[in-house]
Symmetry: C2
Subunit: 349 residues, 2 copies
Amino acid sequence: MHIRAMARAENRPVTVHMIAEHVGVSPAAVSTVLANRHEERRLAPATVERIRQAVRELGYVPNVAARRLRAHDPEVRHMELGILTSFEAPLFLVSRALRQLQQAVDERSGPDRRFSVTIDMFHAGRLREMPGLLNASRFNGAIITNTLPQDDAFLKSTTLPYAVVVQGRRLANYCCVLETPGEVGQRAAEIMLARGRKNLAVITPTLLTESTADRAEAFCAAVRTATGSEPARVTAEDFTPCSGATAVQEHLRAQPKCDGLFAVTDTLALGAFHALKKVGRRVPEDVAVVGVGDHEHADFFEPPLTCVGPVYDRVVAEIVTLLFNLMSRRRVRPTEVFVAPIIARRVSA
Amino acid sequence: MHIRAMARAENRPVTVHMIAEHVGVSPAAVSTVLANRHEERRLAPATVERIRQAVRELGYVPNVAARRLRAHDPEVRHMELGILTSFEAPLFLVSRALRQLQQAVDERSGPDRRFSVTIDMFHAGRLREMPGLLNASRFNGAIITNTLPQDDAFLKSTTLPYAVVVQGRRLANYCCVLETPGEVGQRAAEIMLARGRKNLAVITPTLLTESTADRAEAFCAAVRTATGSEPARVTAEDFTPCSGATAVQEHLRAQPKCDGLFAVTDTLALGAFHALKKVGRRVPEDVAVVGVGDHEHADFFEPPLTCVGPVYDRVVAEIVTLLFNLMSRRRVRPTEVFVAPIIARRVSA
DNA sequence: GCTTGCACCTAAATCGATTTAGCTTTTCTC
DNA sequence: GAGAAAAGCTAAATCGATTTAGGTGCAAGC
């Protein structure tokens, strides 16, 4: 064991102890230098220099977990909250969640209770690889959002052993907050039908989350029920206006009679606007457009975009409430909270 | 000391040890239950229940730092990187930084080297209150952005003892990446002047970062030099289009002859569009508008917004490179990296 | 009666860094 | 030259949780 330890030592992370050995002093001396307190603790300048040299040479990287543990004041309890989202998703819901969560946290912080809130990203579909998720060594509580079906499957298979609220997805073993299933698509369809639109299409990105899929499904179902015919499906590469524009432009070529577009996100609707202008069709006279999400700038689109969707601040408020209830164990059972969509009637439909 | 310890114990965070004492078992047993491994380790079901009960009653919150330290594989070095930004600022630069940083990190990760990247927010002007900043117990490296002058003053006064890259600000004791001072405002002025605009205004938010202040200054200086007259200053409450619209509308009332607007962020330009439409003035025929930042949707504004500004991907690339150089100690001296602005000539000016 | 095996639990080491109290050795003072 | 003070450093405890190796007592088997 001793020999193996030596053998492996080559590539091991450098510790204070190793530096100390290398220089021929105690770990205490090294630590003193690292904290820049050698003056007050009266280390000889020559020693300080030798230690500094070694620190540089060996490429020392402090272990923050160890430092945190040590630095931590035993009088205050510290809770780590994370907002977990995928890189690929837009950040606007996240930033709202963050703001509200921070506010909730500021209210609850005191001399004996502090919180930290961070945003942590995972690659879509690879949530399971996030370090510290499973062994609960990273968070005391987490909000998980923008998951793909693979991530959902992972979550379903293991109940994370701390407070978790999942957004936009129904999972039996977690507390979930999401828009009322079916409603968004339904309302969008109603708007279109009330305007007498016949040749409808729904624009979705390639990667569908549960929410975006549900919106498209419900829209199609409602249209089918009312008119007997199925809306066209337009698939954009991702969430960006650019990909939306490309997809819609192609669709308009194939289906010039199209007179109503439902975009499952506002960014795609923005792309649709662009494509429509390019081929000289007016919104909403020629083509009605409905978006989802209430993009913070939707009112400033040209024309202002009519949106259907849950009030995100409500969604976030529910999430935050649930999270704190879970953490204080006031509610332990998994729950589903639905937030009904509202319609922001503007100009585009 | 013993008595005081007892006295304080009331309100102390609950530890595994305390639970163990409360139940009358060893910490090992409690830990076993917390990890849900009581089956394989053959704890009596009754004991498990008693422990669970106590965990609930006492409101146990695990100390993640301790868990991390313990869970940590001594073969791999783990580096914690943070992107620190203020709540009040828009996230779009942050999200780009995050994506590029994550990519860099993915490339450098290996079996013996892992990274985690998080976004951490501070209240504008209160960076100093962020826990773990000063005692280096949170990050091995950090990108700091969207600071206010108070934050800058704080940073100037203490050199953080780890790898730090500051964005958008010149601080002698740090590595900084920012747009070339003076250039953005100058270019914006040139565009306006080349179009023969005379009655110019610059729109800024109330809270000015160094960059936004510099843009406005340089714009005014360039205009003053060329024409001898000073552009008007329009102050919006914050960065939102909404506040921009309000401010511009007011300005137009006071200065109906205004024919050129320079907005120090794209979101403010979007608000300006709105205000201009409302009073029936055409862009760019009546009023030219120039924005900064190259908003990811600037091309989809109506009309597409002409932007001046650094290529953000360049900025971020420089930041990431510097950060890794600092961490591997390939470059230790503070540096300033300037990224020259480019002009995205679209329709609005 | 003695071993074996099982059920159930604990002592102690460990993760890495920091700090406090204290130990040598040298230098200074009278 | 004795005692005090200063300089320069270290041993060991600590932060909180986890795990490994091992102990104890009881029932079963021969």
